[in-house]
């Protein structure tokens, strides 16, 4: 058996590639070649079985995954993404106070979760983040459920973030944009 053994006029690789493209565009030369066509039929059922192979393996070991997933997530919780340190205005030259980006993002997420129909995706801080009391632009992207007016949801969130950052952020909010990046199907998650 050699690598270039042919089925009709075609190699196994050519036939496989043809299947990969869902037989589009159609290749009458392949389809009209009885040996190649017969090989395609077998390759196609092999494809189907191959796709089922992963499901079969996953199902075979059903329940085997809870353990390793729990242990991964336990490790993950100890390696939180803190992000950059943002300095807090402070008159005492002997001390340095910072708030991490991670903490502020966590705050924004928690606020978002209190707003019906809203889930915060990402929060980005740009501008003068490295200076205590600097001017910072804030962009929050969210997923919103479409079973109510999306702009009202976004506005409700923008308003409470504005209040919370005014109270807690160690910077001046120069701009605050809430961007709806995704819609949640089927109402509130």
């Amino acid at each position: 058996m050699t690598d270039d053994e042919r089925f009709g006029a075609f190699t196994l690789e050519e036939l496989s590639d043809y299947l990969d493209t869902d037989r589009t565009p159609a290749r009458p030369d392949i389809d009209g070649d009885p040996e190649a066509a017969a090989a395609l039929v077998r390759l196609e059922s092999l494809r189907t079985a191959s796709r089922d192979l992963l499901d079969a393996e996953a199902a075979e070991a059903a329940g085997a995954d809870a353990g390793w997933i729990a242990s991964v997530l336990a490790s993950v919780r100890t390696t939180a993404h803190a992000g950059r340190d943002i300095p807090v205005p402070d008159d005492d030259p002997a001390s340095t106070l910072v708030v991490t980006e991670g903490a502020l993002r966590g705050l924004v997420r928690a606020l978002g979760d209190e707003v019906p129909g809203v889930v915060v995706r990402r929060t980005r801080f740009t501008g003068d983040v490295g200076t205590a009391g600097g001017s910072v632009d804030v962009e929050v992207s969210i997923a919103a459920s479409a079973d109510g007016p999306v702009h009202l949801r976004a506005e409700a969130l923008r308003s409470i973030i504005e209040d919370a950052l005014a109270a807690h952020a160690p910077f001046v909010v120069r701009s605050l944009v809430v961007r709806v990046a995704d819609l949640i199907e089927g109402g509130r998650p």
């Binding site: 090989a39 192979l53 079969a56 990046a181």
Partner: protein, 204 residues
């Protein structure tokens, strides 16, 4: 929330407070939303993602490794941890499943290389186990039969076949992951496909 709590260096505290963002609430989010939220540091969102794809990641690693299920579990744990560390660098969040599969394949391949410490994968491709599968199988048993045939492939053949036929990886991706030249990947894949096809003769 007090200012003292906010200036802590431990953002974890906020995550641990009970909010509506528990796993159930996030389960209906799209992959892209979960990736974005994970990249922002939300461990709950990452948990949803790993529960969504973890079982198939493990199955994929297990198919590449062929045997030794403990190995697949170790590989997929490492893969998931690496995914967390790199989740803010996902190019295409809508295709995070493929990204996770790629990491799982890489971790499985690391283990295959350890099985052949003095050889590279390319060098062991022809150490084939030539036992024919002589059982004629019914259609219902095709998947189990295929599983047996794939498991019996030599390590490098199996890895390449699984990445291509199950993982949908391109030749370039397989070449990068295995360190084989693309031409070798093509050759190995051709031989693996041929062997699988031959041994599946029974279910025509």
């Amino acid at each position: 929330m007090t200012t003292t709590a906010i200036v802590t260096r431990e953002p974890k505290k906020i995550d641990e407070e009970p909010t509506l963002s528990d796993a159930d609430a996030l389960a209906s989010l799209s992959d892209a939303s979960l990736v974005a939220r994970s990249a922002d540091g939300d461990t709950v969102a990452f948990g949803v993602l790993i529960r969504r794809y973890g079982p198939h990641m493990r199955a994929y690693a297990a198919r590449i490794l062929g045997h030794g299920d403990g190995e697949a579990e170790d590989a997929v744990q490492e893969a998931a941890l690496q995914a967390w560390q790199r989740i803010d660098r996902v190019d295409d969040p809508d295709r995070v499943r493929n990204w996770l599969f790629r990491i799982a394949a890489n971790k499985a391949l690391d283990r295959l290389r350890r099985r052949h410490p003095h050889l590279d994968l390319e060098a062991v491709v022809d150490s084939a186990d030539d036992r024919p599968v002589d059982e004629v199988v019914s259609t219902r048993l095709q998947v189990q039969e295929l599983a047996r045939i794939v498991q019996a492939l030599p390590d490098a053949h199996r890895a390449v076949w699984v990445m291509r036929e199950i993982g949908g990886a391109s030749y370039a991706e397989i070449a990068e992951a295995t360190g084989m030249p693309q031409a070798t990947v093509r050759g190995v894949l051709a031989r693996a496909r041929r062997r699988v096809l031959e041994q599946m003769e029974g279910w025509r």
